[in-house]
Every structure is written in structure tokens, then in C-alpha cells.
Amino acid sequence: MLLGSEKKTADMRGAYGDTLVELGRDDPRIVCVGGDTTESLKTKKFGDKYPERMFNVGIAEANIVSVAAGLVIAGKIAFASTYAAFIPGRCVDQIRNTICYPYLDVKLVVSHAGLTVGPDGASHQQIEDIAEMRAIPNMRVLVPADAVSVKYLIRMIASTSGPFYMRLARPSCDIIYADQSRAFELGRGNILEDGSDATIIGCGLMVSRALEAAKELKRKGVSCRVVDMFSIKPIDKDLIARCAKETGAIATAEEHNVIGGLGGVVSEVIGETYPVPIKRVGVQDIFGESARDEEIDMLLEHYGLTATEIAKAVLEARSRSRK
């Protein structure tokens, strides 16, 4: 089984930094642009190893992404990183016009997405980025569920042409893919757990909660399929439609506003393919708030981002199912 008997966690940013160093070793075209958060983003590891390929332009996000675009125009593959609140928060226009429109090989890998930023509060709790980024033509949006996925996906985006946006969470996340042989394919969700009564489609750190919810429901006799939809765009329409058809009800789980995020995408897809009841678990269109690191679970509970809420959502969707 994918989940080990005892939970292991790992840091997504660490996985990003390590992978970037490996990529940099193999490919001299890899460069990185940062903005006064390189230590936090772990891109400093890359900078320490390849100082001439690391550009820190200070707290200037518009400049970070545009300089990255220039590096790409001159033949590089550029990773640009800071907190999700600021990329894309402070530079959607530059991402749109300077990176996506000309289809440049800029890879935006950002951290501290969602509510789990913790003590910094709502100003830093990025809950709109998936909606913003997926609405831009040419952009691809990835939300990995754990550090293992991060390693795979960083390699994938480095070797796939065009722009990518990849959001990471700040806390250490449960390892979902203990079995490292698991493949990741752009635009294909991974079924982590099969089931027949409903499907939970999650992304990011909500995937581990989705697996927990499935366990809870199993005890109540409800068989849930769990999908890790790490690729929000392109989206796996076929899989979503199949889940709708085969299980008859869907719950989505994301650390993002329910407007325009994973729940939004899945609703759009089933609405146009095989309409079934759906319930979106996520931030209910409100701003977050500060919480100390040891209070993160309580923060998520406060905003309804828990396994219990997902389980409730599944039952609610199922109750409306005609299957």
C-alpha cells in the first residue's frame, strides 16, 4: 500500500532545493532567480553550489519573474521562487504577458501556499493562486501532495518546455508516495485508493487528509476512491469523468479558496462530461488568520480542512447521488 504503517513526513522545499542542485549538476542551462527568500525556499542550496547561476534580485517579485523570462530568452531554463503570496500575488501581469504569452521556459516554484503558512496570517496565506494561474492560457499548474512528488515533478517541469506554476506547502507533509516507483504524468491524476461509492479528488497536503477520510468512511461501510490530482492544469478530464460515472459522487479537497481551484476545475469537468453531485472542501471564500506552528492542525480544523470534513462532504454528495 502507498501509505506506510507509520506516518513519515518530509519537507517539500527541501526536496525542491535538493532536486534543483541535481538538475543544475546535469544541465548547465538551469538557473535560479530568487527574491530575499532563497534560504527559506531552499534554493540557496543551488546558489551555494552554483553561485554564478543564482540571481537574487531582492524583494522585487515583478523583477524576479521578468528577469527569469530574460534568462530564458537567452537560452536558459529558469526557476523563479519565493512565497506564493507574492509570486503570483504581486506579478500576475508579468507572468501573463512576459512568460505565458510567449510560452517561455520559466518554472515558477513557490512555497507557503494555503493556510498552513502559520503565524504570518492572512496576508501570507495564498488561497487564490490556483484560480489565477490556471486561467492564463499556456500556463500549467501543479500542486504536489508530498516531497516525493516534488522531486518527480521538478524534474518533469525542467524537461518539459513552457511555463509552469508549482505550489508547495510550508509544513513538513506526510509522505504519500512511499513507493517511489510510482509514475507521474502531466495531466494524469493518480488513483491512490480504489473505491466504488464516491471519489475524493485532492491536491497538495489535503491528499493525506483525503486518504484518512477514506479510511474513516471505510469503517462506516462507504468505499471511497482517492485521487491525487497533482496536475490541476492540464486536468485529467477522462479520469474525472470516469470517477463520476463509476462512483456517482465526488468530493474535492484543497488548501485553496473553493472558488476557481481544484473544486472549481472538477465541477467544470463533470458539469460538461458526466454531472454527479459534488461537494468542495476548501477555504470557503474567506481570509485566513495567524496560528502558531503547533496550532496548524487547529487552524485547518477551524477552516474545515480536515479528514472529518472531507468524510462529511463525501456523505453529503452521496446523499444527493442518484446512483
Binding site: A62, S66, N97
Partner: protein, 546 residues
């Protein structure tokens, strides 16, 4: 080292680019003529002279990069690319239309954007204040790779309101990007009005200096100044260079110049031909420093430079081809240090081929030899050597001589024809009016044979004869006594300019009348025409226009 600019060729190409831009804009019914024209000399100087690039191989790995951050100057950018050879200029007529490759704002050309772009465009602009950052990225990559490519970024003053310009400014200073040159099109006008009213930017020079840039300030419509600054920029180490180019928005069309109203508005299509005529009618004044009191050339150059003349005319006489003797290449070499103004050297000497190298070495910008002083083969060789050295070749004919037949074989590499209206070599002669007819006929014949250069009127040019020769087709005017003999250089230059303007306005008005758009033209042009109303006898007519 000369500037290698082939001055008149450069001027002509920029003129052509303006003409294609206005055709695109009037056809589209929208676009930004103001910004296209304030930046015309900047873009033209880069593309036609300074940048290393190859229109037949836009992805050439050794190319210099141009990033047009003020992307609303698209019509001017496209026309510059077209004149440089990236695509057929006729395509400008599709500007901003559905299905056109020429989008409202330029789009980076790639496999992904073939439908909406043309080869040679590196950067997708349109949102202001971003291009400099992109230029920094390219410059960083080139340094990283140890490559010699240079990056030129054009920014506007309006977009300098954007904070990102200053983020980028700091970053370029930090990274000591001496392979990056930014040119600021300082036309002082943005969409809502004048920059200093909307959001004051001055002191710009101090600002960029404070951000650790080397700053050169130039008149952004003087190609020789732009080139001079670009040459200086290449000598700067460990610092990025800002060329602060003071420009006039809408420069080239007098009623658009310096008028915020023309930021993003197209002139009506029915006026296109008149506008094209105006663009083609730019006149250049070249004072001849042998006029007036003897010698003291340095002083004479300084004085006319202050008056904003276009070139310095240097009459070299050897006492053999003509009776008088003036000065030779050694004098020109000394004078060269004084100014970046183009040197328009007129060799009235025997065997010019023998001496030509001296004048090339003296860094003249235009060198004209007499048809009477060389054979076809000699002229061919002179022409070739001048072109190789980035010097505009010219040929002069005396009042009694006709253009030799052989000249028609090499017109495309001929930048100027001096039509003498006195017999050269002795002072105080009167303008010979019979030359006017000759000029009209010659101009027509030359154009028919594909000549795209300038006709230069030389000999007895004053306020009156300037207008006559202007009407006969001359666009460069050698003014000697008219500038230096009256004792009032300032007043004389103003008067000559004024007369040229009257001639221009009359010409354009006649053209508008022929096209049945006289009233329309006068309305658009009213504020320009007022000072000439009396001379053009249009006072009442003008008054009647509301």
C-alpha cells in the same frame, strides 16, 4: 574610427520607417504615432547601424538583442524591422487587423507565436515597465556564457512611473551589466498629458546616476549623437549605460509634435499622402564654414551648432580644380574633435581618388566628389571605399555640366547629388536661376531611375533661393554667406528654417487642395499654420476655421 553610420543612408531609412509606420496607422485607424516617431531615430540607429543582427537569420547566436519595453511604439518598431529587412514593408498595411502578424503590441516570435508575430521580435510587450527586467535576464545569461552579445532596451518615460523600472534599475547596477544599454525615449508626454504633471520624473539623469548607471544625455532625433553615445557606451566597464534621449513625441509630423492628443490616435486615412509628403520633405541645413570672415573655423562651427543646424559643410578647394584654395584633410581632422555634427565634405579637387583616403581618415560623414573630376571607374572605386567605411557618397555637378550617364548605374549606393548653382571656387557669385529647371528635371530623372538619396542645393542659397530650390526638389541646403555674413548667425538660421517651413507648408497645402481635403488639412494643422498665414496668404481662410 568613424561612426560608420553612412549618415544620409541612415536618415533615409529612418524616414522610410516613419513613412511605413504612418501608412500602417492610418490604414488601421488606430495605433501610437507619437511614440513611434519619438523613438524612430533611436530604433533606426540601432537596427540600421549599431546592432549586430542578421535579418536573414534572426536567431543568429552572436546577435545583439533589442527589447522594446515601450511596446506601444509598435508601428515604428515594425516599420524599422521591415526596413531592416525582416519582412516586406507592405505588410505594415495589415497592422492591428484581424489575422495580421502585426499585433497592436509586438509579440515574441517563436514556434508558438508564428501567427501573431514576425521573426526578429524577442519580447512580448504591451504591459508597461517590464522590458528592462527582461533585458537584465538576457544580459545576465550572456555574461554567464561569456558571450559578447549586447542587449539594448528601449524604455519610455511614461512607463518609468512603474515601480518595476526602478527594481530593474537597481538590479542592473548590482550585477554591473556593462553589456546592457538602456535608452530612455524622453518625450515628456504620456496618455493623460505631460509626464511632469502626471507624475514628475525629473531629475532623470540624477536618478539613474544614483542607481549606479553611467548616463549619457543626447538629442534623441540626432542620429550622430545617438551613435556617439552608443560608441561611448561600448567603452564603459562594470556599469550599465543609460542613454537619456530627449525626444519630441510625434516628431516628423509638425501638428502631432509635442501634442498629448496624438499619443494613441490615428490621423484620418484621407490625409495619408500629405503626411507621407511631409515625412519625405525633411530639410537639412548645412552651413559652409568658408563663408564670412576668413578662417576661424572652430568658432564658426561652435556658433552654428548652438543654433541646431543639421550638418557642417566643408568646402575643400585645391586651387587647381577650382581657382581658390581653402583647406584639406588635416584641417578637417582637427575640426572633427569639436562636434559630433555630420561633416558634409565637398571635394572640389582634381584626382579625388588619389586623396580620398585622407578624407576617410579625417572621419567625414558625407564625401562628395565632382563628376567633372573623375571617370566612371574612379567614381566607382571612390563610392565603394566610402560605403565600406560607412561614409555617404555624393556626386556634384557644376552649373554648366549635366549628370554623366554612368552615374545612373550606381544610384542605389549614391546618397547625395550636389547641384551647384554657382561656379565653384570663387566667392560672391550670384545664384543662377537657370539651375532650378535643371534641378527639377534631374530630380525627376533620378527618382525614375530609383535614386532615393538627397538633392543638395549649393551656391547662393539664401532665404529666397532656399524656397526656390526646395520647390525644385532640394532637401539639403548649403548656406554660406546667408549664415555667416550678416553678423547675426542666430537670426539667419531662424530665417532659413522659417523659409523652409513656409515652403513645406505651401507644398503640403497644395497637395491637400489637390486631394480635396484642404479645409480638413487646415483644421488639423491650424496651430502650425498660424505663423505662416501671412506668407501663405491664408489669413482669412484660417480665421474662418473653427
Amino acid at each position: 574610427m568613424g561612426f560608420k553610420m553612412r549618415y544620409l543612408d541612415l536618415k533615409r531609412k529612418i524616414r522610410d520607417a516613419r513613412m511605413w509606420a504612418i501608412q500602417g496607422i492610418t490604414e488601421a485607424g488606430s495605433g501610437h504615432p507619437g511614440a513611434s516617431f519619438s523613438a524612430a531615430e533611436i530604433m533606426g540607429t540601432l537596427y540600421f547601424k549599431r546592432m549586430r543582427h542578421d535579418p536573414s537569420n534572426p536567431n543568429w547566436s552572436e546577435r545583439d538583442y533589442f527589447i522594446n519595453s515601450k511596446a506601444h511604439s509598435a508601428p515604428g518598431f515594425y516599420s524599422t524591422l521591415a526596413v531592416a529587412g525582416y519582412f516586406q514593408p507592405e505588410e505594415l498595411r495589415t497592422l492591428r487587423q484581424l489575422g495580421s502578424r502585426l499585433q497592436g503590441h509586438p509579440v515574441r516570435y517563436s514556434e508558438h507565436q508564428k501567427q501573431h508575430s514576425v521573426p526578429g521580435i524577442e519580447y512580448s510587450g504591451g504591459s508597461e515597465g517590464i522590458g528592462l527586467s527582461v533585458g537584465i535576464g538576457i544580459a545576465l545569461a550572456k555574461k554567464l556564457d561569456g558571450k559578447k552579445n549586447r542587449v539594448f532596451v528601449l524604455i519610455g518615460d511614461g512607463e518609468s512611473d512603474e515601480g518595476q523600472i526602478w527594481e530593474a534599475s537597481m538590479a542592473a547596477g548590482k550585477f554591473k551589466l556593462d553589456n546592457l544599454v538602456t535608452i530612455l525615449d524622453r518625450n515628456r508626454i504620456q496618455q493623460d498629458g505631460f509626464t511632469e504633471d502626471i507624475m514628475p520624473l525629473d531629475p532623470m539623469k540624477d536618478k539613474w546616476t544614483a542607481f549606479n548607471w553611467e548616463v549619457f544625455e543626447v538629442d534623441g532625433h540626432r542620429v550622430e549623437q545617438i551613435l556617439d553615445a552608443l560608441n561611448k557606451a561600448a567603452q564603459v566597464h562594470d556599469k550599465p549605460v543609460m542613454i537619456l534621449a530627449n525626444t519630441v513625441k510625434g516628431n516628423g509630423i509638425r501638428h502631432m509634435a509635442n501634442n498629448p492628443q496624438w499619443h494613441g490616435k490615428a490621423p484620418p486615412k484621407r490625409q495619408t499622402e500629405v503626411l507621407l509628403e511631409e515625412l519625405e520633405s525633411e530639410c537639412l541645413i548645412a552651413p559652409s564654414i568658408i563663408a564670412g570672415e576668413r578662417e576661424n573655423y572652430e568658432d564658426k562651427i561652435r556658433k552654428v551648432e548652438r543654433e541646431g543646424v543639421d550638418m557642417i559643410h566643408l568646402d575643400v578647394m585645391d586651387g587647381r580644380f577650382v581657382p581658390n584654395t581653402t583647406f584639406f584633410a588635416d584641417t578637417i581632422k582637427k575640426l572633427r574633435r569639436l562636434t559630433s555634427l555630420p561633416f558634409d565634405t565637398h571635394l572640389m579637387i582634381e584626382n579625388p581618388l588619389e586623396k580620398i583616403q585622407d578624407y576617410i581618415d579625417a572621419r567625414c560623414d558625407i564625401i562628395t566628389v565632382h563628376a567633372e573630376a573623375c571617370t566612371e571607374n574612379e567614381f566607382r572605386e571612390i563610392q565603394e571605399r566610402l560605403i565600406d567605411n560607412g561614409i555617404s557618397p555624393g556626386i556634384a555637378i557644376n552649373p554648366g555640366t549635366d549628370v554623366p550617364k554612368w552615374m545612373y548605374h550606381s544610384l542605389h549606393n549614391l546618397d547625395v547629388v550636389i547641384v551647384m548653382s554657382v561656379n565653384p571656387g570663387s566667392a560672391g557669385q550670384k545664384f543662377m536661376p537657370e539651375v532650378l529647371t535643371k534641378m527639377v528635371v534631374l530630380n525627376k530623372q533620378l527618382r525614375q531611375h530609383g535614386f532615393r538619396g538627397y538633392i543638395e542645393a549649393d551656391g547662393g542659397i539664401d532665404a529666397t533661393t532656399l524656397q526656390q530650390t526646395y520647390d525644385a526638389g532640394a532637401r539639403i541646403f548649403v548656406a554660406g554667406a546667408a549664415v555667416y555674413s550678416g553678423g547675426d548667425i542666430h537670426g539667419s538660421v531662424i530665417q532659413l528654417r522659417h523659409k523652409a517651413e513656409v515652403a513645406l507648408e505651401r507644398r503640403l497645402l497644395n497637395h491637400a487642395t489637390q486631394l480635396n481635403i484642404r479645409a480638413d488639412w487646415m483644421k488639423a494643422r491650424k496651430h502650425i499654420l498660424i505663423p505662416y498665414a501671412n506668407e501663405l496668404r491664408i489669413e482669412e481662410e484660417l480665421h474662418a476655421i473653427r
